[in-house]
């Protein structure tokens, strides 16, 4: 039996060579724990993320938009499923993961605790929230854990439509009537900062990143991803004549990047702690869905058991 030090060296050398770590491979306990935390948080975000958009399915302005939104929300459910499955390969049971979500022990992305007040919010979510998520997920697709990285590749492929349909909604509104343009601007005003914040705390307040980077659990710093997101998004806002609600936002010619104004991290941590505008109703919707669906799960089990008896 190899000692821990040798195993750790072999593990690190695999990662350095770009060889993926697979479920049955040896891995440090901290790596496993961190991945379970990250991946389940990601899975929960996909599932809870269906709620703000689900709010608008019945009120989509046309059949085309309705079909698109349905497909998008169905994708989020699928993404949640890929991610729960991938998380389970680390040796944790699905019911335990759900239990952690329902008791508030596990977190999900802060962004889904904001309400969707108008149809323009559906545009802003696809454009900004999915846009930011794609930045983060493209980085994670290069991560070291095989099942997570494979799920990310799949998710990124599917999410590019999410991003585009959102921008398309924003375009229609921004080039529409004065009221529609205002509605689009209002949605941008409310979603911009939460989208900037959902990429996580600033690097100087994000602890133990070094080890996670070395293990390729995290691939890029939060600030680097945030910068790329802003660089790509600002010209898109310019094109449709909307204003980013950041008076300090400036293009730095020397670095070639935008520099944003101060972020209200107090708001971010407050939302994470459970005090965002929708935390309580989001969690309640999940807990209710789980409870109300329990008899269905039990019935399918009973049906399967009956069939086994009949067939034997």
């Amino acid at each position: 039996m190899k000692d821990e030090k040798t195993l750790l060296e072999e593990f690190q050398s695999k990662i350095d060579k770009g060889i993926k770590i697979e479920p049955k491979d040896w891995m440090p306990e901290k790596y496993r724990k961190q991945l379970i935390r990250m991946m389940s948080q990601h899975a929960h975000s996909e599932i809870v993320g269906m709620l703000p958009e689900g709010n608008w399915i019945t009120r989509a302005p046309s059949l085309r938009r309705k079909a698109i939104l349905l497909a998008k929300v169905q994708d989020e459910a699928g993404h949640g499923m890929y991610l729960y499955s991938a998380t389970e390969t680390l040796g944790i049971d699905r019911s335990e993961l759900l239990e952690q979500l329902h008791t508030g022990k596990a977190k999900y992305s802060s962004i889904f605790n904001y309400p969707t007040l108008t149809w323009a919010d559906i545009g802003a979510i696809g454009w900004l929230v999915d846009g930011a998520a794609i930045m983060n997920q493209t980085a994670l697709a290069k991560g070291s854990y095989g099942p997570y990285s494979r799920a990310m590749v799949r998710i990124c492929k599917e999410e590019s439509f999410h991003n585009r349909q959102g921008y398309e909604i924003m375009c229609s509104l921004a080039f529409g009537s004065e009221e529609q343009k205002q509605m689009a601007q209002d949605a941008l005003n409310r979603w911009w900062w939460p989208a900037i914040m959902m990429l996580g705390p600033s690097d100087d307040s994000s602890p133990n990143s070094d080890e996670l980077m070395r293990w390729k659990v995290k691939m890029e710093s939060n600030d680097a991803i945030r910068e790329r997101f802003i660089d790509r998004t600002v010209p898109q806002a310019d094109y449709i004549g909307l204003t980013i609600p950041d008076p300090d936002l400036m293009f730095n010619k020397e670095t070639g990047h935008y520099k944003h104004g101060p972020i209200n991290w107090e708001e971010f941590f407050n939302v994470i702690k459970g005090n965002g505008p929708c935390n309580k109703i989001r969690l309640k919707a999940r807990v209710d869905a789980d409870r109300n669906g329990r008899w269905v799960r039990e019935a399918t089990e009973a049906y399967a058991a009956k069939k086994r008896i009949v067939n034997s």
């Binding site: 049955k24 499955s85 399918t300």
Partner: protein, 96 residues
């Protein structure tokens, strides 16, 4: 209260096009094989990724273990003569 059921774990294999092998794409939960097949369709082939799906209950898969790969695959290590490049072909001889 009795433990909640999440069904059993199934591994999913999808054949993307005719003539190529089924490939592992991930896993899911279901109560029986029919439900597993339908869930697999909804979770893994929403964009025409497949023309055929296999589902196998995860507990029925026996896998080699990573710790033993050295000795397990060792028999193939010293048999270079299984590859055509091992053999010398005289100059001028064709179609070998």
């Amino acid at each position: 209260m009795e433990k909640d059921t999440q069904g059993t774990l199934w591994e999913v294999f999808v054949q993307a096009n005719p003539g190529i092998p089924h490939k592992h794409v991930g896993s899911l939960h279901a109560s029986d094989e029919e439900m597993a097949l339908q869930n697999a369709r909804d979770v893994y082939t929403r964009r025409k990724e497949g023309i055929s799906i296999w589902v196998v209950e995860a507990k029925n898969i026996k896998a080699s273990s990573p710790e033993d790969i050295g000795s397990f695959f060792e028999p193939a290590n010293d048999k270079v003569y299984r590859h055509p490049t091992f053999y010398k072909v005289p100059d001028g001889v064709k179609h070998l």
